[in-house]
């Protein structure tokens, strides 16, 4: 696997798609076709705004510690970071109490730069950031304008590296390059591979005794890297850590909330495990090939079945399957019992679940575990990584699934037809979702526990609470209108998908 100057778009690399409307059975049969069926090429004649690979990259980049982010582009690129000023710092401090808040700069390309090139501005920005903030790492996220004017960001950074104390990391992530915003993950890893993924030379290794060396190697043989996601919480990490430590494993979390050395330290491990398959394959394949660490991309540890499966798969790699089975049995017994009171209340209620492909299907399993029904599903995009999670679902063939990155106009049409009792939904369209007048549970998030066994209990507990009173949304549905014409609700929800 050679590393390109920029990560390829996922519609090419993974044949991923962003437009589909049909049943789960139809979707699965399409996925089984070699080229991703008609999914890959499909798009819409009406579209609505959603994240691009630049903004989604910031989800990871803004979390890095001792790092300054430079938005290389005109003044508006990265404006979204404004929303992370307070929360970002708080979440960093859950990992490192001394962590600094989020600092970013815009290279502020103007009309002159569009003609003359952005190199000079970028150099000035980097030198100022290095001198003013003294960060370990300066990440340059490069937007549409530098891509169109042909700035060679890699070369500019290489040329400056000897003049800065900070490690300079290029992230080539112009938004127009891909319709799959998830390409962002590859774009970020592409930069991390170029500059941060390297063995660290430790002086003590030269002088260590054979015994110390064996001890160290044993330690490495019991260490697992868990690849986290920006939208999970510290509480999620603590739960994952608890479970893996019960199997006598040492756990590192990356890439989110990492500092520079963490990427080197993580090369001293025996297994790389993805939390969410849709994030990490680009990087984990690279590490496997160049640093010989095997990887596991399977299911996501949301809900009992998927957490069981995830733990067992990890245990297989470390030869602790029997121990894992004991742990799983115990955890399931306690959790199963604890969910009982909620099942009594939630039984038969119908949930509509919308968000990332992996997490919606895994959450659907939790919903079934609670005795609820799945009214419908909606995923941001679709690719092969969703397949193992589908196995956890029961009777899913006839469930309606819509693939759309955000696009709440399809959601409103579907929700009117499917008439769910509760919506479990990704952030970003609350103004629209509220007007269904239904209780809304945010689909995971950085401020509460969602993963592992404790996360399942939390989902149940919160669902139960949220469904007790939806007056806030009810009033909005009564007194404020949705922006879609009546004619739209009469059309089929997939009317604007073009093959």
């Amino acid at each position: 696997m050679t590393i390109e100057n920029a990560a390829p778009p996922r519609e090419e690399r993974l044949k991923a798609g962003i437009a589909f409307c049909g049943t789960c059975a139809e979707l699965r049969s399409t996925l089984d076709k070699e080229d991703g069926g008609c999914l890959n090429a499909a798009n819409r004649s009406f579209s609505q705004t959603h994240g691009c690979q630049f903004t989604l990259s910031l989800g990871i980049l803004n979390s890095l510690r001792n790092t300054v982010v430079i938005m290389h582009g005109p003044i508006g690129c990265g404006f979204c970071s404004t929303g992370n000023v307070g929360t970002g710092k708080a979440f960093k401090r859950l990992r490192d109490p001394k962590a600094e808040g989020l600092i970013w700069l815009s290279s502020n390309l103007d009309e002159t730069d569009v003609i003359a090139g952005g190199e000079k501005k970028l150099r000035e920005t980097i030198l100022y950031a290095d001198k003013e903030f003294r960060p370990e790492t300066i990440v340059v996220a490069s937007s549409c304008v530098p891509a169109l004017i042909g700035d060679d960001v890699d070369a500019i950074l290489d040329g400056l590296q000897q003049d800065t104390a900070a490690e300079l990391v290029p992230i080539i992530c112009e938004g127009f390059k891909t319709k799959l915003m998830a390409t962002a993950y590859d774009a970020v890893y592409n930069g991390i591979i170029k500059k941060l993924t390297k063995y660290r030379l430790r002086d003590e290794y030269f002088t260590e005794s054979e015994f110390d060396k064996q001890k160290r190697q044993y330690q490495i043989s019991r260490t697992v890297n868990v690849f986290n996601v920006g939208s999970m919480s510290r509480a999620d990490e603590i739960e994952i850590k608890r479970l893996l430590q019960a199997l006598d494993l040492t756990v590192n979390f990356l890439p989110c909330y990492s500092a520079l050395d963490d990427f080197s330290n993580a090369l001293e491990a025996s297994l790389n495990v993805s939390i969410c398959g849709t994030h990490d394959d680009y990087y984990l394949k690279y590490i496997a090939e160049h640093f010989h660490i095997p990887y596991l991309i399977d299911t996501i540890p949301i809900g009992r079945k998927n957490t069981n499966r995830w733990l067992l798969k990890i245990a297989e790699n470390f030869g602790v399957v029997e121990e894992a089975k004991v742990l799983i049995k115990q955890e399931n017994a306690i959790l199963d019992r604890s969910l009982e009171p909620f099942r009594k209340i939630l039984k038969g209620k119908r949930a509509y679940i919308s968000g990332g492909e992996v997490r919606i299907i895994a959450t659907a399993e939790v919903v079934q575990d609670l005795g609820m029904e799945i009214a419908g599903l909606k995923g941001h995009h679709i690719d092969q990584f969703v397949k193992p999670i589908f196995e956890s679902l029961e009777n899913s063939d006839d469930i309606y699934i819509n693939i759309a990155t955000q696009h709440p106009f399809e959601q409103v049409n579907l929700v009117r037809r499917l008439k769910p009792d509760v919506l479990i939904i990704h952030t970003g369209a609350g103004n629209i979702t509220a007007k269904h007048g239904l209780p809304v549970l945010p689909l995971y998030g950085p401020s509460y526990n969602y993963l592992g066994y404790s996360g399942t209990y939390e989902i149940a507990r919160r669902l139960n609470r949220i469904m007790k009173n939806s007056q806030f949304n009810k009033n909005l549905s009564k007194y404020r209108s949705l922006p879609y014409r009546d004619e739209w609700y009469e059309k089929e929800p997939f009317a604007y998908i073009k093959k």
Binding site: T49, C52, P74, C77, C80, V85, G175, G428
Partner: protein
Amino acid sequence: MSKFVDRPRYGCAMAGALGVLRAIPRAIPIIHASAGCGYNIYNGTNAGSGYLGGGYCGAASTPSSNVVERDIVFGGEERLAEQIQSTLEIMDGDLYVIVTGCMVEMIGDDSVAVAKTFADHNKPVLAVSTPSFKGNSYYGYDILMEALVKQYVISKKQKTERKVNILGIVPGQDVFWKGNLKEIKRVLHLIGIEANTLFGEGETLDDIKNSADAALNIVVSDVYASLTAEAYQQEHHIPYIRTALPVGYLQTAKFIRVIGKHFAIDENKINQVLAKEQDVYFDYIERVADIYNDVDFQRYGVVVADANYAPAISEFISDELGWLPQLTVITDFLTEEQKDLLTKRFDGYESGLKPAVRFDTDTSSVRRYLSEIWEKDSNQKYYDSLGPSVILGSVFEKELSDEFQYPLITLAFPVTNRVVFNRTYAGFNGGLTLVEDVFSSLVAGR
């Protein structure tokens, strides 16, 4: 030639344009750009503007052509036409406005020409160029408003004698825009002037459409809304005057006198109005006289804000709170001419004081200026520190506030630590609210 910006306190031109469209009921934006532009802007504006939200059709519901590489290579006009057509079919609005991103402007898509092909639709479809490389949110507000004035506002030969339009308050960028407009409207009403604030409480698209019947435009800003004010003057023959954004009793009284003079309103009438407002105002202020003097509520003041707020707030803390304004940083992109104009706003305080005024767009600069204007602590036995102080700025000043233990009042964009509805800092009521907020921060621990 511009320079980089450390943590910009504004979005791009499209952000300003979308801010205006967010403020106008039933206006539907159609973004012609890459998929991320609209969502990026929503996330900046929503949180930064005290949780403004997506409203009727914003956030992830905003129509957007989501152009990709193929469109950039072959041109995006065809995709735009398709998106306009489908938007008209699906989205229920009264005005459709295409705003454009950098990439489609760089490849030369003619969005105006594409919009014109929809001229016979029963609702107007306009297009405005809003690339980020041309300017920030303030510019975006201005260029969008200018387009509305030129293409949407219907001409009115007959002007209404005591009717004005209010310009220069930028929705989404001025976090308190709606409350401010409401109070300015109320204040002008007191002296018999009807103010059209274009997108204030209860105002609709028709108020914008019919705004050419005003006799005067009042730009409550020294620097914003130039294109709009000029467009009204040229297209609709409405002259304009610029005033400062009035905050508190003294500034608002001055504002009323200036406007009153312009309309030759009887001075007795103005005096009567002011006497009444003064009584209401100081009846409240009097309440905190006790605690103010019991525990010494005087502070040094550090103000970090845009060209509307910075001079107004500095003067307010000097001449109404009786504080010592030490440093004021104005954070906009400004010409030398505009800087000179703004600098004059800091002359002639009743207190006789004058803060150090700096023009700087970088967040990290504020700290540097603090050490410039005040003698450093060199470990001498007695040190006359810059304390107690209060920072009146944006949430970006939080680090500074933590470092020096100066309480922070967030009033300039971005304000992510408050939810803001109809609260105002403008006018008489704005002064009262500001006193409430500032002194609340001083008693919060009690």
